[in-house]
């Protein structure tokens, strides 16, 4: 540690504190405050839980909540696919460097651009359906964007398509830094591919898996606005509306900042709870490790 006069360190953290205060602390305090008020302009009268009751009675909110929760189901899909392809690349399949560059490419493309391109590919008479019809799979040429039953699935497919590149290079980087002796020993002992994956590779990846699950869950809950906005705008109807879009629509399009703030508080709560749960699970797993 460097010796300093006692006030020096505070000088060093002051800019960071000011920025975090402006962008996080003040807004989070205010959003809780706003959620209990009838906001007109910059403030308004206290209305208790009225905004929360209005939100609860709004069926669009229930849809948005359900859709955000459903998107979390994409996390295990992304996890399994990422690990699977990372392991294939790790085994130095022929051309693995080229495959790595290709599979990571979507992550470089901006989400709004990906969303717009996807909205043409998945259109009723778009490229996907034209290809399906041309190869005789007419039954699969569905109304990906126009059907209330499919629009959320389509959004999820696009999200997985782009985000999986990050998962693959993340797990690959971890595998490349792994000690190969154990794997070699397992191979010499005659362990098959699945056994090596299950007993040698997965335990090594555990920390990275936890990290990835946290990052991917946050993405699904709170970072998908740009996808939904560019692919379906939440429609048709409310069939692909998620919490983020609901907050944006209520707060800025419908000028109901009170209701938007109430949902923001709910979203913040949901994020904090899910992360806390993950950490509890992790702490428990580590304790069991020590005992075993």
């Amino acid at each position: 540690m460097l010796r300093t006069r006692p006030w020096i360190p505070y000088l060093y953290v002051a800019p960071a504190v000011a920025l975090l205060g402006l962008v996080f602390a003040y807004p989070v305090v205010r959003v809780i405050d706003f959620s209990t008020k009838l906001i007109r302009g910059a403030t308004g009268p206290y209305v208790g839980t009225l905004n929360y009751r209005l939100v609860w009675e709004d069926s669009t909110f229930h849809d948005a909540l359900k859709h955000s929760a459903l998107l979390l189901l994409a996390v295990p899909v992304m996890l399994v696919l990422s690990i699977f392809f990372a392991v294939l690349l790790y085994e130095r399949a022929r051309g693995w460097r080229i495959y790595r560059s290709v599979l990571f490419l979507p992550y470089i493309l901006a989400v709004p651009i990906v969303g717009i391109v996807a909205s043409y590919i998945f259109a009723l008479n778009g490229a996907l359906n034209s290809i399906l019809r041309a190869v005789g799979l007419e039954g699969l040429a569905l109304d990906w964007l126009g059907s209330e039953h499919l629009s959320l699935l389509t959004v999820a497919i696009v999200i997985v398509w782009r985000e999986i590149g990050f998962g693959i290079i993340l797990f690959l980087a971890r595998l490349l830094s792994m000690d190969e002796e154990q794997l070699e020993a397992a191979r010499i002992d005659g362990a098959g591919w699945w056994n090596r994956l299950w007993y040698v590779i997965l335990p090594e990846l555990r920390g990275t898996i936890e990290f990835y699950v946290v990052v991917a869950s946050i993405t699904m809950l709170a970072w998908v606005f740009a996808y939904v906005y560019t692919i379906t705008e939440g429609g048709p109807g409310t069939s692909s509306t998620v919490l983020e879009l609901y907050i944006y629509n209520q707060g800025l399009r419908n000028s109901l900042p009170g209701m938007a703030s109430a949902v923001a508080v709910v979203l913040l709560g949901a994020t904090v709870i899910s992360i806390t749960l993950l950490f509890i699970v992790r702490a428990r797993a580590q304790r069991e490790d020590v005992v075993a």
């Binding site: 975090l20 962008v23 959003v31 399949a93 901006a110 993340l170 980087a173």
Partner: protein
């Protein structure tokens, strides 16, 4: 080689090839459609574009203000990455190298902020910035982006600064260097890998951000590239080839950066996560 091993290899290649095709198809769709005429596209949306038509790019450049959007995005990205990195370097230096009350609490809170979704802060920030006349200004949005990327920057730099051997700083102290000089002349030059990571991760995030840019930069002459492409898309909605030409133009900067700096991208994005 046994036939079972060979079958495994073939299966592996088949799976990887299929995945590569699925990954590349949307990119191919964007690129190929951009070179088609409207007639060619409507006739067959997936055929190879032949003869090549480059008129779409002229229409796209004419119909959108790509250079303006590009400039706005570049200013915001540069400004917020610099501000975030500077504020984080100062804070991380104090956390990693100085003794003070509240040090670990500050780091814990700052790190926890990484999970707070930006949309939570949207309404209060918008109302505050409206009152401060910061809506539709570069400065306002640079402050927001720098603040949103700060927790990750602090976390990353603190870890890195802690790993720098103490002796390197000790000798500078005995030479009488001031603390700021130690940070500037010794610590930061040694932290190049961490700084590259920050520039890549934060720069990519700011460049691609849509929600904040949409809400805080509504005026036409301040729109970012990401907001610009959504405006462009709704304007040319029915002319798919021109829309795709616009999307391709908008992707060029990042594709070039990726092409020439792939190593930094991959290393930057995985650093910090790969520690077991």
């Amino acid at each position: 080689m046994t036939s079972r091993v060979r079958a495994g290899r073939v299966a592996r290649q088949a799976v990887l090839l299929l995945m590569a095709l699925l990954t590349l198809y949307p990119v191919w769709f964007m690129v190929s459609t951009a070179f088609k005429t409207q007639h060619q596209y409507l006739h067959n949306p997936y055929a190879v574009p032949w003869p090549l038509s480059v008129a779409n790019f002229g229409d796209a450049i004419h119909g959108g203000t790509f250079f303006l959007w590009f400039k706005n995005s570049a200013i915001l990205t540069l400004g917020s990455v610099i501000l975030s990195t500077l504020a984080a370097a100062l804070a991380a230096f104090a956390i990693a190298r100085m003794e003070w009350l509240g040090r670990s609490v500050f780091l814990a809170i700052s790190t926890a902020l990484m999970i707070v979704p930006p949309v939570v802060m949207l309404m209060p920030l918008f109302i505050l910035f409206t009152n401060l006349n910061l809506v539709s200004t570069y400065q306002g949005v640079i402050l927001i982006y720098a603040g949103l990327t700060l927790p990750f920057s602090i976390y990353m730099l603190t870890n890195f600064f802690r790993s720098i051997p103490h002796e390197l700083l000790e000798s500078a102290v005995t030479d009488g260097a001031r603390h700021f000089a130690i940070l500037w002349r010794i610590v930061l030059p040694l932290s190049a890998p961490a700084l590259v990571t920050l520039v890549v991760v934060n720069g990519l995030w700011v460049w691609n951000e849509l929600l904040i840019a949409l809400v805080f930069l509504p005026s036409d002459n301040l729109k970012t590239l990401m907001v610009g492409v959504t405006v462009f898309q709704s304007r040319y909605n029915l002319n798919v080839p021109v829309t795709m030409a616009g999307m391709l133009l908008a992707s060029v900067p990042m594709l070039l950066v990726y092409l020439f700096g792939q190593r930094f991208f991959i290393r930057g994005l995985t650093a910090g996560a790969v520690k077991g």
